[in-house]
């Protein structure tokens, strides 16, 4: 008898894992964290309602779409998406090993890779479900500030969703690989996301092409305020690839990382503590 093919097996693992992942303590904690940008947006909206035209940069009222773009870049792309990737990605298999439930999955007629891929799909669905309401609320609270209208900003919201989903997919794949290869994946993941990537992005050269954020930044469509010293410096150092290069780069990262992670799961022995 042949084992069920990879994709149907992965989809069954997805079914099994999604509910567990959504109602985990990790999701509750990160759900609360995702309330941060909403609280910030609520604060900005309150200030704007109480003191109209008070949100200004260099004497000019800042449009709501610009604030929204800034929040997407600074909070979601730079902090929240890598953080979700690190916390979930590194634990895709590790959680099952720690809970000693991996045995039930590895003694079923499915390829071991399917366990990783199914759980990766569950991670994507779970994180998108966590990020989506937060981004929506921020959008509806912030965009009406200044002269922007919701209808005007809506296409950009859809683009931002797609970009965030791609970011979650890329970071998730990279950290899934880290989780299957390293002994302390969480620490390594945090160092990579919040040490290595930001540091490398500041310097010219090819090294930044080994980061997810290099490809992700090209997909940010928002215009950033450029009058501050920091933003000018950023513009000088910023080397932005084309959208097609970014999409290809991210696809290669996702597929490559998942393939290597799948290989590691196939070959590795998981010894559970008695």
């Amino acid at each position: 008898m042949r084992p069920p093919p990879l994709v149907p097996s992965a989809l069954r693992i997805f079914d099994l894992s999604l509910g567990e992942m959504l109602w985990s303590r990790r999701s509750v904690f990160l759900g609360v964290l995702l309330g941060g940008p909403v609280v910030m947006a609520l604060g900005l909206r309150t200030i704007w309602t109480l003191y109209p035209n008070s949100i200004q940069v260099n004497g000019a009222v800042v449009a709501g779409t610009t604030i929204f773009g800034g929040m997407i870049w600074a909070l979601f792309i730079n902090i929240i998406v890598p953080l979700l990737g690190v916390f979930y990605g590194t634990s895709l298999i590790a959680d099952e090993v720690d809970d000693k439930t991996i045995t039930y999955l590895f003694t079923r007629p499915i390829p071991r890779r399917a366990v990783l891929f199914g759980k990766y799909l569950a991670y994507l669905a779970c994180t998108i479900l966590l990020v989506l309401p937060s981004v929506m609320l921020v959008f509806f609270l912030v965009v009406p500030i200044g002269s922007s209208s919701i209808a005007e900003g809506f296409p950009s919201l859809l683009t931002d969703f797609a970009m965030l989903a791609l970011g979650l997919a890329a970071y998730g794949a990279v950290f899934a690989l880290v989780g299957t290869r390293l002994k302390r994946p969480l620490i390594a993941g945090l160092v990579y996301a919040f040490g290595w990537e930001p540091a490398v992005m500041l310097f010219p050269g090819y090294l930044k092409r080994l980061t997810v954020s290099y490809y992700l930044q090209a997909l940010v469509r928002h215009e950033m305020p450029q009058d501050s010293g920091a933003s000018l410096l950023f513009q000088v150092l910023r080397e932005v690839p084309s959208v097609s290069t970014s999409l290809i780069g991210l696809t290669v990262i996702i597929l490559g990382a998942l393939w290597l992670a799948g290989l590691a799961v196939e070959r590795r022995e998981y010894v559970l503590d008695q």
């Binding site: 079914d15 439930t101 039930y104 079923r108 007629p109 499915i110 022995e269 008695q274």
Partner: protein
């Protein structure tokens, strides 16, 4: 009874065949050059904790890769051979579950991994849950199950797809006497239907109630294989310790003290620990007492492996 099977490869008719099988974890040897054949029917794997039982079970179920030698299950190598799990059911030792799921959801979800659709999987799960007599609790969350119920739901997921070979790692651990008796009956019925079972335990009495065919394992080696009755006399020379968690420990103790096979008795928190010279008689009486309900609820019966360790020491010396 024969000592270690020796260098010759086991015959093909064996459901499990280990050939110079070794497994080590870094510097620690888990299993050392084991060549053994497990025939069809029920076979008990008996050994104290740390003897290599778990390593052997993990190798048999393909969770670990042999460091040296090979192992074949149902005529095929098991490592990285997922198709073989259509024919194998495994009930692991660890008390691990997706606690938020109900018993029915859990068994159904695992059976679906065998390629069944939702309706088929649910039908098989229902049948398996019925077989382990958990139908009333099927829709309760596993987190709310007692130890015995958790053992039985693990058993349900192992038998649900009707495998040819059932591998059970300490399946009776923590069960109350009635659940024990029912589980033993289920295992025996399973084998009577022409299927095979490999069951591990550190309690000879448990194994003996299921089969006469045993593998004795100690310090990573198969010490002996064959008929259980030949080591019966040895074990009878050593007092057997039983830990009983119950509501009315004092009433139970009074009843035990009236029996001449009870050698000593002590109380622990919510439990009574008994040493008996005749485990057979003791367990039979305990099951009757649990069934009568006259001595309150008996929640859990376990046995430390001190007495078995003593038998192994004796065997190693002889």
């Amino acid at each position: 009874m024969s000592r270690d099977a020796g260098p010759e490869a086991p015959p093909v008719s064996n459901i499990i065949a280990a050939d110079h099988l070794s497994k080590w974890y870094g510097q620690v040897i888990g299993l050392n050059d084991v060549s053994v054949g497990v025939p069809a029917g029920i076979t008990g794997l008996l050994g104290p904790n740390g003897a290599g039982k778990s390593t052997f079970m993990k190798l048999v179920t393909g969770q670990l890769k042999p460091s040296k030698g090979g192992i074949q299950v149902l005529g095929e190598p098991i490592w990285n051979n997922p198709a073989l799990y259509f024919r194998i059911g495994f009930c692991p030792e660890q008390d691990a579950f997706y606690e938020r799921m109900t018993g029915m959801e859990w068994v159904t979800a695992l059976i679906r991994l065998n390629g069944l659709d939702e309706a088929e999987a649910r039908a098989k799960a229902t049948k398996a849950i019925e077989a382990v007599e958990l139908t009333d609790a099927a829709n309760k969350k596993i987190g709310a199950y007692s130890k015995g119920m958790r053992q039985r739901i693990k058993m349900a997921q192992a038998i649900a797809h009707d495998p040819e070979l059932l591998i059970l790692d300490e399946p009776l651990a923590g069960m109350d006497p009635i659940a024990r008796r029912k589980t033993i009956r289920l295992i025996k019925e399973w084998a009577r239907a022409g299927r095979s079972v490999l069951v591990s335990s550190h309690i000879l009495h448990e194994i003996e109630s299921m089969t006469a065919n045993i593998l004795l394992i100690n310090q990573g080696r198969i010490l002996a294989e064959g008929n259980v009755h030949q080591i019966r006399d040895l074990i009878d020379e050593h007092p057997h310790t039983v830990y009983i968690k119950a509501d009315l420990t004092r009433a139970l103790a009074r009843e035990f003290l009236a029996q001449d096979d009870v050698l000593s008795l002590k109380f622990e928190e919510g439990a009574v620990v008994v040493q008996t010279g005749r485990p057979d008689a003791f367990y039979a009486r305990l099951t009757d007492m649990a069934a009568s309900g006259e001595h309150g609820m008996i929640h859990e019966v376990t046995s430390p492996d001190d007495n078995l360790q003593a038998v192994f020491k004796y065997l190693v010396k002889s």
